[in-house]
């Protein structure tokens, strides 16, 4: 299993907030993204994620959709309504693969939509693209 892709040093590492209620999923994203040079923080639901986004800037959000307390789409809508946070790029990653699910995510404010399970290669590639960091 190759999780450690393109190890690199980034002068100012991009900061990514991973918001997912699955403990294994958060650990997977963190392991892959940190190995690629990103700084990763975690939130376990949309409410905690929203509070972290309000508290400090991030270069990218990776957001699950189905979460307790506040789902990912509600969190994205709240972030997009706030002038201070509306510009942060967000990738939703969900088990749901129907076109209507993708459309709802984009309508809520997602910039990109991935369907689980995501490979490390795809995760790192999309993170570089969406965080504005050259691979």
């Amino acid at each position: 299993m190759t999780l450690f892709l393109k190890p690199r040093t980034i002068a100012t590492a991009a900061r990514i907030l991973v918001i997912d209620d699955g403990i294994t999923m958060r650990l997977f994203y963190r392991t892959v993204l940190e190995a690629a040079g990103f700084v990763v923080e975690e939130a376990t639901n949309g409410l905690e994620g929203y509070e972290k986004v309000l508290a400090r800037p991030f270069d990218l959000l990776i957001v699950d959709i189905n979460m307790p307390k506040m789902d990912g789409l509600s969190m994205l809508r709240a972030i997009r309504r706030d002038g201070a946070t509306m510009g942060v790029p967000a990738v939703t990653i969900s088990t749901e693969s129907k076109d209507s699910d993708t459309l709802k995510a984009y309508q809520a404010g997602a910039n990109y939509y991935l369907v689980k399970p995501v490979t490390p290669e795809t995760l790192v590639e999309v993170a570089h693209l969406m965080a504005g960091v050259p691979a």
Partner: protein, 207 residues
């Protein structure tokens, strides 16, 4: 000894439902144009189990998050298998906030929800099966690790299995290790599944 008022449910107007039957006004308020009366009615109806159907009907169309939350709080208080069945049907809703609130509500009524889990775990929609695993994993019932292990032997969808592995990482025991190894072989080309199984195995072994 002085008289102490116990936790006698009332209809929000101080009346004991044992001597005061369900008032039509409460049901009318539940359909009010104003969310304030709807929320108050949803709260008061906790004293009337016979209002469960009306509350479930309202939940399906209720747009106000605070009223939805109160209806679900009341349904959790009343909880019975019929309510769990109505809520389980909402797992197929396209309304994401409603669906996630329903998952949390079903987790709060384990005895009633458990009766429907086998049906949900066999639902043709893999997303519904994932929600069922999420409910199952939160039930904290002694048999849950065994049910999850049984599920990963047969379940064909990787994301349903991944949800079960995630739950086993938190509540699984050594009896699940052989099934996790078998699952790893079944999804040998999936990096995430290998990672998830490694994580669950380490946690179960206390590493």
């Amino acid at each position: 000894m002085g008289l102490v008022k116990g936790n006698v449910p009332d209809d929000g107007l101080g009346r004991d439902p044992a001597v005061c039957p369900l008032q039509p006004k409460l049901l009318a308020d539940l359909a009010s144009d104003d969310p304030g009366p709807r929320r108050a009615a949803a709260r008061a109806l906790a004293a009337y189990p016979e209002a469960a159907t009306a509350l479930c009907n309202r939940l399906e169309i209720e747009p106000a998050p605070s009223v939805r939350a109160m209806i679900l709080t009341t349904l959790i208080k009343i909880q019975n298998p019929a309510i769990a069945a109505r809520l389980a049907a909402l797992l197929r809703s396209d309304d994401v906030p409603l669906r996630t609130a329903v998952i949390e509500a079903l987790q709060e009524m384990p005895d009633s929800a458990a009766l429907h889990l086998r049906t949900l775990l066999n639902d043709p929609d893999s997303d519904v099966r994932i929600f069922a695993v999420n409910i199952l994993g939160a039930l904290r019932h002694a048999d849950v690790p065994g049910w999850l292990a049984e599920l990963i032997r047969e379940e064909p969808h990787i994301n349903v299995c991944a949800a079960a592995v995630d739950a086993l990482a938190e509540i699984g025991d050594s009896e699940a290790l052989a099934d996790l190894d078998t699952l790893r072989a079944r999804f040998a080309s999936e990096t995430f599944m290998s990672f998830a199984i490694d994580t669950a195995t380490r946690r179960i072994r206390g590493q």
